[in-house]
């Protein structure tokens, strides 16, 4: 880990946040926060879900205007009227949620805004293609620059976003949870590139809920709680526990509190499942009270498998048995009726309906059960929603607010609430703790294991090895769409899983 060259802090701040505040209606998202971004330094911004990190990012990007306070670029106070201004000021941003143009090619997505031009001021397609290819090579990813962005997995989308940010050769690079969707390997590649940029004198702002990443990349950290600035310190001076304590405001119980559950009868039997071009002969079983993890590199097809099992996606061969009965293919409704639930990996597109209120989202799969004589009366839905959001300590204004106004992590909690409300026998969770802060993460893990203890069967798709190793009774490793290994809790180690996932010894 490259320790921070402390002189940098002496140098002038490339960008300085001064006493900024921002509120949305009643919610005070950010209140009087200040911190500097120094050249040649990576600066971490940490805080619980809803602490206000993304809001700050959006102010730096010119998306939101601060209600009060100012931003200073090279010491001079400036007002961003829109993202264009921020760009002009040399700020490149990777937003928490991917922002690609699905109909345009990947290369064009990357070049958008500063496409290479021929002398006739026409766009130089060849140059554009080669630029994209070069960036991907640098990040060591394999995406065809000429394919449209539509259909990319979240992970691939995230990688394109990164390439986009790098291409603009900005002096200030702001990354809002860029690693949330990535697995170890990509994260390492991202870090190498970022370090290079930093050493070339760029200022980096990095947001993540994974402390090992922060200690690995950043020299300075700013901690936020409930929209307020807690402190800005050198990472070297703080232990992870200090950080967590300051950001949560209390001591935390351990992560991954896996309690042993009595394994019951088989709930799910998947037989030789396959889908042309995505996955093939996938067979496994899940028993009541068991937590089975699906590990593997991004793009291994884990989400596709589980989506096919749940019926939102088709499969060409094989069968799915639930509690001994064969499940109708391609029918989420049948799966739900049988007692299955799926917390999808893509919150915005698949998990939630952003325009609808929190309560409507939570009770959507349950509306039939909640109806009396086929009719729904507001009360029943609201009570249901309240009880579940409170159980998960969701930070929200009103239950009737559009769920889109919640912070990333709180949105994730709403998705969990939505599916726990259906009291399923088998719960499939795809990246359940993606973009969730440590506090919530601990809660989610405790929740999962207590549910398992009560006899719920859980399938967990996760790219976070510690989580996989900590939570799972059994680990199924996918590689390029087929099962590379099935490991019991005792056999599983970082090495054994990575080995199976990559098909060679992990360096």
């Amino acid at each position: 880990m490259a320790a921070a060259p402390d002189k940098s802090s002496a140098g002038p701040a490339l960008l300085e946040v001064r006493e900024v505040s921002k509120s949305f209606g009643a919610v005070a998202a950010v209140q009087g926060v200040s911190f500097p971004l120094y050249a040649g330094e990576a600066h971490a911004l940490v805080g619980e879900n809803g602490a206000g990190k993304s809001t700050i990012v959006k102010m730096l990007a010119g998306v939101h205007r601060p209600d009060t306070g100012t931003l200073a670029v090279n010491g001079t106070a400036t007002e961003f009227t829109g993202p264009a201004d921020a760009k002009a000021a040399g700020i490149a941003v990777i937003y928490q949620e991917p922002t690609l143009f699905p109909d345009l090619s990947v290369a064009e997505n990357i070049a958008m805004g500063n496409q290479p031009l021929t002398r006739l001021r026409q766009i130089d397609r060849r140059a554009m293609h080669t630029n994209a290819a070069r960036l991907f090579a640098r990040l060591g990813v394999h995406i065809d620059p000429d394919r449209p962005a539509r259909g990319l997995s979240i992970a691939d989308q995230q990688l394109v976003e990164i390439a986009k940010a790098l291409s603009s050769e900005a002096r200030i690079l702001i990354m809002d949870e860029p690693t949330a969707a990535l697995s170890g390997v990509e994260v390492e590649r991202l870090f190498t590139v970022t370090r290079a940029l930093r050493d070339e004198g760029a200022a980096i702002m990095f947001i993540s809920h994974r402390f090992e990443e922060i200690t690995a990349l950043c020299q300075r950290v700013t901690i936020m709680r409930d929209g307020k600035h807690v402190c800005t310190e050198l990472v070297a001076d703080l232990s992870v526990d200090d950080m967590i304590r300051r950001m949560v405001g209390r001591d935390l119980s351990a992560l991954f509190p896996k309690q042993d559950a009595t394994i019951g009868e088989t709930v799910l039997e998947v037989e030789g499942l396959g889908r042309e071009g995505v996955f093939r002969d996938i067979s496994f079983t899940v028993k009541a009270g068991e937590i089975v993890a699906l590990a593997g590199l991004v793009g291994a097809g884990r989400s596709e498998v589980m989506q096919a099992v749940f019926g939102v996606d088709r499969y060409d061969t094989g069968s799915v048995k639930f509690l001994g009965k064969r499940l109708k293919a391609g029918s989420p409704r049948a799966a739900m009726a049988a007692g299955m639930g799926l917390v999808p990996e893509d919150r915005r597109q698949q998990g939630l309906i952003m325009e609808l209120s929190v309560e409507r989202n939570v009770t959507l799969p349950r509306s039939r059960a909640l109806a009396k004589l086929g009719l729904l009366f507001g009360g029943s839905e609201r009570q249901e929603a309240r009880s579940w959001t409170e159980q998960l300590h969701t930070k929200l204004g009103r239950l009737s607010d559009p769920v889109g106004t919640l912070s990333g992590g709180n949105q994730q909690k709403v998705v969990l609430a939505k599916w726990l409300a259906t009291s399923p026998k088998l719960l499939i969770v795809d990246e359940p703790t993606r973009g969730i802060d440590v506090g919530t993460k601990a809660e989610v893990h405790r929740l999962m294991s207590s549910l398992a203890a009560r006899g719920l069967a859980v399938v967990m798709v996760s790219s976070e090895l510690p989580e996989v190793l900590g939570m799972a009774d059994r680990i199924i490793v996918l590689r390029e769409g087929h099962i590379a290994a099935q490991l019991t809790r005792d056999e599983a180690t970082e090495e054994s899983v990575m080995y199976a996932a990559m098909g060679q010894v992990a360096a």
Binding site: S21, R333, E355, L364, R368, L376
Partner: protein, 329 residues
């Protein structure tokens, strides 16, 4: 701002209020507007738009659209005339026409959900197709000799009083559609589909099937309206109801339904229809020319969305000002 206040700020509420105001002013200010006979005329004039608007609201809430309704109406009318000439009994013709409408709707539904074609494009196509078929069925002729006890019923009033017979039908259907949209799981699923079809799919909602049936219903209602139209004007023609589709869409949007789906309420739509019909009726009584009516319709349509937006943006800027001031002192 409180639950209630936010509800009050909604478009549909504004439209409802506006409608009431217009009705009051008209019946006080416009001679002959308040009369019971005029009420009958008013109801008869708004009947087709209102009935077709009910399923159209559902469809637009799911983010789709059906521009073929008016042509379906015309085709149903032609079929009615043709069958009548074949000597079938009117009692059997009416259900046949409604079913025919349903079938036409099903074709739309299949093209949209089965083949996944954009509904705007598809229904522009069927708009031409169905109108053409209407001409094929009935040609340029018009069939007129429908039995008076039916034509009379449509134009007549309950016991010769001031309440038109068709009003019963209108109210009944409006109530049914309203309850389904606003107080049933099915209604909820429509909003979900309109706001984000993929997420709805992930929540176990049968997106395609739901949309398909909406088109079937839309077609059936259009067929029914085709029958009513034919009886009202005691004239079955291929060009009946031509151009009605845009009037209906206009009324639905005026009622505060979002063209992107996921937003809107049925009371708003009803208000929208009544508002347009009442305005036109009143202005006509005042000898305002048809062209002026066009302008009013268009202006209302735009303003109904524009004004609330302006209001909210003013409110928010004002709020930001206050915050800044608060910060400086």
């Amino acid at each position: 701002m409180s639950e209630l206040k936010r509800k009050l700020a909604g478009w549909d509420t504004i439209i409802i209020a506006l409608t009431v105001v217009v009705l009051v002013i008209a019946s006080l200010g416009v001679p002959n507007f308040g009369t019971s006979r005029n009420f009958t005329f008013l109801v008869l004039d708004l009947m087709p738009i209102l009935l077709v608007a009910l399923p159209m609201t559902f469809i637009i809430v799911t983010g789709e659209i059906d521009l073929s309704v008016a042509s379906t109406l015309g085709l149903a009318s032609s079929i009615m005339g043709w069958l009548w000439n074949q000597g079938l009994s009117i009692e059997s013709i009416i259900p046949i026409c409604i079913i025919a409408g349903a079938v036409l709707g099903a074709l739309n539904g299949f093209l949209v959900t089965g083949l996944g074609l954009p509904s705007l494009a598809v229904t522009i196509g069927t708009l031409a197709l169905y109108r053409g078929l209407a001409l094929v069925v009935l040609g340029d002729g018009a069939v007129a000799d429908f039995p008076f006890n039916y034509t009379g019923w449509v134009t007549g009033t309950i016991g010769g009083g001031s309440i038109p017979n068709v009003l019963i039908l209108i109210v009944a259907l409006a109530v049914i559609f309203g309850v389904v949209l606003h107080a049933t799981p099915f209604g909820r699923s429509l909003y979900a589909i309109g706001a984000n079809a993929e997420a709805a799919h992930f929540s176990g909602i049968r997106v395609a099937r739901t949309k398909f049936w909406l088109y079937v219903v839309s077609g059936a209602v259009a067929g029914l309206v085709g029958v009513l139209w034919t009886l009202r004007y005691s004239s079955a023609r291929a060009d009946n109801g031509a151009g009605l589709e845009l009037a209906v869409v206009a009324a639905v949007l005026l009622g505060g339904v979002s063209i992107f789906g996921g937003k809107g309420s049925l009371p708003g739509v009803l208000a929208g229809v009544v508002l347009l019909a009442a305005l036109q009726n009143a202005l006509r009584l005042q000898d305002v020319s048809g062209q002026a009516l066009n302008i009013v319709t268009g202006a209302l349509l735009v303003l109904s969305v524009l004004l609330p937006n302006i209001a909210t943006s003013i409110r928010s800027t004002w709020q930001r000002r206050r915050l800044r001031r608060a910060a400086t002192v």
